[in-house]
Amino acid sequence: MMKDSKPSPGKGGLNAEIQSRIGHQLRAMYDDVVRQGVPDRFAELIRKLDGSGSSHPQVTPAGDFDTKDNGRD
């Protein structure tokens, strides 16, 4: 038998309490990672590039990727 006492999304919008719980859970998940800070591997990666002409890391630029092809104008 189905329970129908649970709050459900109404036609005109979501139950405010549910929306707030979802927002809270989403941020909790996200912020847990943010709080871990910067792992050493990334700090080293960025720091070892000295910006004086050697700003090209050893990476093969992939031809199928363009950082500007996505709606930024």
Partner: protein, 181 residues
């Protein structure tokens, strides 16, 4: 612009958010860190194309999002191995109830269409405006708003509406099915 010390610091400061975005998108900690690393390498290799004064986090998120998308297309047919690997990346082990609730939330988030999931994360967790989220995703502001709304609606159905395993039938159909038993 050239890679100045201050720009490098700003990129570094964006890493925690990039990781959170990558893990939220992929549900897999190892894959997320690979994505972040690739994002940083691409950003540094293309730093000349970054406009001084424009939104650095949005620029970095755009790169990561595009990488994830092309990566996702390649891996679509591979068996996903996200179970548990995300939880292992957490520093603070949540207690059992919270952990269960977290797993349910993660599973529901993974059921969203990718368009909706990324829109919800960008606006609801990363804190981007609808306008910036639209730029990152390469779509109209109205599209982002509607994706976020549909994502919230679907999550609430998956998590808080009894018997809504699939979000197929609308409320009316569900009510008819329910009363017919």
């Amino acid at each position: 612009m050239p890679l100045t010390d201050s720009l490098r610091e700003d990129i570094l400061a964006s890493v925690p958010n990039l990781r959170a975005f990558a893990i939220s998108l992929s549900g897999n900690g190892d894959r997320a860190d690979d994505l972040v690393q690739e994002t940083l390498l691409r950003a540094l290799a293309n730093i000349d194309s970054f406009q001084p004064g424009s939104n650095l986090p949005a620029w970095l998120f755009t790169i990561l999002r595009n990488l994830f998308r092309s990566d996702y297309r390649k891996r679509r047919r591979e068996v996903e191995d996200s179970d548990g690997s995300y939880a292992k990346t957490l520093k603070s082990q949540p207690n059992q109830n919270a952990h269960l609730e977290f797993e349910e939330f993660r599973a529901a988030l993974d059921k969203l269409p990718q368009d909706q999931r990324e829109a919800l994360i960008l606006v609801g967790a990363s804190g981007f405006s609808y306008e910036d989220a639209a730029k990152i995703c390469g779509c109209a502001v109205g599209t982002i708003k509607s994706r976020v709304n549909r994502a919230r609606s679907k999550l609430s159905a998956l998590l808080y509406v009894e018997g809504a395993e699939d979000f197929g039938p609308d409320d009316t159909v569900r009510a008819v099915i329910g009363s017919g038993r």
